[in-house]
Structures are given as C-alpha cells and as structure tokens.
Symmetry: C2
Subunit: 340 residues, 2 copies
C-alpha cells in the first residue's frame, strides 16, 4: 500500500464517512481501494458502524504516527464557483511573507525569479489537498521561491530537504530553519553534478521550477525521479511563453517514458512579479529585443507558469542516471526568451 | 496563424492592452506571439497608441466576423482564492436546467450517465476561457450530458454538431434546436462504425466523455482527432475510480502519439448524481459486489471525473483510421467497476 494513499484515507476518515463519501476524497482505482479498505478493516485500523467507516483507537494512533492532523480546507465548491483557497494557511503565509521580505537578492546567472507569496501558498494548498504535504518527505529542487520554508512552516511534512545551487539561499534557509526550529535542511547542489547516493529513493514528493530547455528539463526531472520512492509524486511549473506547445508535448513524452502520469495541470497558476525580481534582467533577454518597441518598461506581470502534478506508476525511471554529469549549458535554447 | 489564437488575441484586445498585459491572456510562445502581433499590425488590424495595442476599425470588423462578443468572466483571482465561476453564464444555465429536466431517460446499454448542470457549465466556462467556445466549430462526441445544448444556448460557437449513438438524445436535441433556433445539429453515430468523410478535419474542438477501456479510449480519441483541424483542441473527462494510474499513463502515451499535448487537467471537475441517473444500474456493476456489504444504497454522489484539455501540435493523428471499424466490446475491461 502506498504511504500517500494510506495517509489520505486515514485523514479523510478522521470523521466517520461511508465508503461512498470516501471514494471521491482519494484517488485510487476502486479495486485498489477495495483491497486497501479490506486490509485496514482486517488489521483493526478501521471499523464500520451503521454504514460509516471510522478509525479505531489503533487507527487513530497510526494516523497520528503518520503525521495526520485536523483536516483543513483547500478546495471548495459553491453553487456558482469552484475554488482553491489559502485561507486555512493564512497564519503560515503571514510569517512566510515576513521572512521572504528579507530574502537574498536574485541572481541572474542562475536564471532565478520568484513567484508571489500567495502563489507559493496556492501550490502548497494543492499539495495539501492531494495528500502530498502531511506526513510527507519532500525534496525541493531549486528554491528561489523559498517554498521549502513555507512547507516547513506548516509543521505538516515529516521533513523538507532543499537542493539549491545558490549558497546564499541555502544559508538563508538553514538560518531560518535553526531560528524557528523547522524540519528543513538546505544543501548546496548543482543538478548537473552526480546525485549523492544518500538521496536516492528517499522522498515521497519533489517540487521544482525547472529551467525550460529540453536538456534542463530532462536533467531536473531525472534528479527528481531518482530521489522519489516508488509511486512518488512531483510538482513543477512550466510556462507557455518560453516553451512552445511542441516542447510541452516532448516534455510529456519524456515524463511518460520516466514512468509518470500527469494527474493535475492548472493553467496560469503562478505569477512572477517584475520588481526586484525578473524585471532586473529583462533587458538582457530576447523578450526585450522583441517587444520593447511596443511598450517599455513592462506595465504588467506578464510571466506566469502552469502547475503540473505527476505521479509515478511504480518505480520512476530517470533518463539521466544519478551518477551521470551533464555539464553543458542547460539555460538556453531558441525558445528561452526571458532568460538572461 | 491558428484560428483560435487569432480569436483569443482579438478578444483580449477588445479593450486596449499593452503587449505585457496581453502575454498572459493567451498561450502562444513569445516568438509565435511576436510574429502574430507583427502580422496583425502590418495588415492594419491592430494599432499601438501610447504603449497599448488596440483594434482598428478593420480589426473590430474582423473580430465581429469571427464571432467575438463582449468579454465575460470565467476565471478570477482574489487575495485568497483562485476560482472558476459560472456567474457570467447563469441566464443560459437556467434555460439549460429547464430543458435538461425533460431529458430522455438514460440507457444502461450505452453506459450513459450525466453530470450535474453546473458541471456542464463549469466545463463550458473552461472552454470559453481557453478560447475554444467563441466563434468555434465544436463536435460533441456522445452527449448524454446535453452539453451541445448548453454550448449552443450561449450563441457563441459558430456551430455545434453532436454525434451520439442514442437516437432518443439525437431527436431530443434536434427538437430543442428547432424550437429555439440554435446552431446545433445532432446525428446518430456509433463511433465503432466508419467516420463519414464529410466530418473529417471539420472542427476546432471536440468534447467527449469516453468509455474508459483502452479500446474505447483509443477509438473515441481517434474519432475526435480525425474531426479536428490542425492545431485543434479536445476536452474529455476521465475518472480515477474506473481507470488506474497505469491506465492514465497509457492514455497519455496514446494522446502523445496522436500528436496532442495536455494543456489543462482539473481534478474532480464533474460529479455524476446517482438519482435517476447512474444509480439506476449500480446493482449490475462490480462496485455493488465490492462495497454493498459496507453500505447500501450509496449515500453520496461518489462518481466524479477529471477534466482534460488537449491540443494538437499541428496535425492530429488518429490511431484508428477514420474508415476502420472496431466492432468488439469497448465497454468492459477489468477496471470498469461502475459499468453495467
């Protein structure tokens, strides 16, 4: 049984629900669910009373051991809307905003740029709803967004490890982690280098905002895949403006080959502000040469990305082996118009 | 230039916007956008005034000819939420609900079942936002949801053609279309039969809720692909409960092979009520044998599906040729637990 599935089911049964109420609150195929629920009943973690499944004391202990706490609301529906809300995470977001206001300056040489704090939390809410936050071991691959801090501030993940090439970010995150006693550790790591054996298959989920060249994507997903346990999941942002539809198709083919299925894909889910951020290096980018004659400087935050969630069918298969290096330029191709 | 891209750009420029405001309101790669905007300026459809792009009188004529009307709101963001709203389409939804309340009874032999009216409209709103509704020629492949009526009621598509095996639905939709003078035509068609040559490459978008066996999916997507123009898009629902993650991966591989990229994927986007609907045949399904000992009858609408949007990179390539027949059982496999 996948650890995430178990955590999801225990969380959703923290109040009694019928099997019919449970089905849409998790995402296993009915046959898998049937065997999981059967097993949990047999082992005495669940019981059925008047048509409702609920946790036994033994089940509640297991849920607690796995890091499950009270259910917060992330997705909701009204008569006229379907929404993602970050209202359950506002206390954490306020602290995050305070911390992020003192973030290290971005470095153009690493193609850095960060999304708005609320987009960090919208992403976190999706992870929470999909069962990839509570009790999970999470690898953040590249963290100019300081997502690692946001995740750790919730107190929900079992651990968060950040892998980042910029030592300023690594030091910043480790200092915050010490000050606030967070389950967060950041490491200096250039993805192009070999992946240390101790990180292999050690995580439930990875999160990244990859460089959008085919080489860069292949490398980043391979590092993420190598870090995942069987059946693990991944989150990443991809733009349309720096990646053509043909590249999207190629990326999806690659992910499929790595044994992943795409489970969620939210358009325009992250906005990158210009000021003090990507705006500082735009004049060295192709986009400046192309559009500055129409209007300059930009009067709107035009850089947005789309959020993918992927999940491995069994064992993820990295296309670049963990001990393989790839020292070429992974930042540039003919589509990288907003990359300095 | 793709017709959808042109329509999207003209719609978003119905009020003056800078190029920076325009970028996130469409989804071309920056290089494509650069060449499209350049071309539209050169041909006199657009002009630049004080850094804002706007339609010239000639551009406004073109927009009108392409079926563009005032911009409605479908997606919105607040400080704490991101939402899809159907509020701009409430008048149409009220009429739709009245019509749908007299729909023909569902037929288990075709594995029918319909989603809630609001889910029909949430889907329609996504199509609207993504530029696949206004001025578009739309094929609906199987229409127990009566989506064709909802689409046509907005008055926005250039035409809607429904292809449906159940002659009761076909007659019902054609009667409504005549009564209300809708740009909607329904045809009796069993996808397993050859596709009539006059439907080849005739549509901008297809919409379907396929039977979830691999054979059924391959056939349905092939029919949809054959009906699309180059660069066309498709929408479909797929469940997790009747399709394992391994099948999802296989479906995605198949779509990729057909030259499609997935552009959007919204989890739990459609709910199928039980009463007078799929509830009427559940006792003939595997799900009854598996779960009725826990709780029966079901006390919640457990059947939900996830909405995909796909887009062809150039020419879509059907895996089943339009003149090929596939007369085997496409309704059942070992995962079809809610299929009678």
């Amino acid at each position: 049984m996948k650890s995430r599935t178990l955590r999801l089911i225990l969380r959703e049964l923290s109040r009694p629900r019928s099997i019919w109420e449970l089905i849409p609150r998790q995402d296993s195929h009915l046959e898998e669910l049937h065997s999981i629920v059967g097993e949990l009943l047999k082992q005495g973690y669940l019981e059925v009373k008047e048509g409702k499944l609920s946790l036994t004391p033994k089940g509640r202990d297991l849920a607690r051991d796995l890091g499950i706490s009270h259910r917060r609301e992330g997705f909701f529906e009204t008569a006229r809307t379907r929404c993602v809300t970050l209202v359950s995470f506002l206390p954490e977001m306020k602290i995050y905003e305070m911390i992020a206001s003192r973030r290290p300056p971005i470095r153009a040489e690493f193609d850095q740029g960060y999304m708005r704090p609320k987009d960090v939390f919208f992403r976190l809410v999706v992870m929470y709803e999909r069962g990839d936050l509570e009790g999970a071991e999470i690898a953040v691959l590249g963290d100019d967004d300081l997502l690692g801090i946001a995740l750790a501030l919730t107190g929900l993940p079992r651990k968060v490890e950040v892998f980042e090439v910029d030592e300023n970010i690594v030091e910043f995150e480790n200092r915050i982690a010490r000050q606030r006693d967070l389950k967060l550790e950041a490491h200096v790591y250039d993805f192009r280098r070999k992946l240390d054996g101790r990180w292999l298959s050690g995580f439930d989920t990875f999160v990244t905002d990859p460089v959008e060249t085919i080489h860069g994507l292949k490398l980043t997903f391979s590092r993420g895949a190598a870090m995942l346990r069987d059946g693990g999941s991944g989150y990443f942002g991809l733009t349309r403006l720096e990646s053509s539809l043909a590249k999207w198709r190629e990326v999806q083919r690659m992910l499929n080959e790595m044994n992943f299925a795409i489970t969620d894909l939210y358009p325009n889910f992250s906005v990158y502000p210009l000021e003090g951020n990507i705006g500082s290096y735009l004049e060295s980018c192709e986009v400046y040469r192309a559009f500055s004659s129409l209007s300059w400087p930009p009067d709107a935050d035009f850089y947005t990305s789309h959020l993918y969630r992927i999940e491995a069918v069994g064992r993820p298969k990295p296309l670049v082996a963990p001990d393989e290096e790839m020292m070429e330029d992974i930042l540039h191709d003919e589509e990288s118009w907003v990359t300095p």
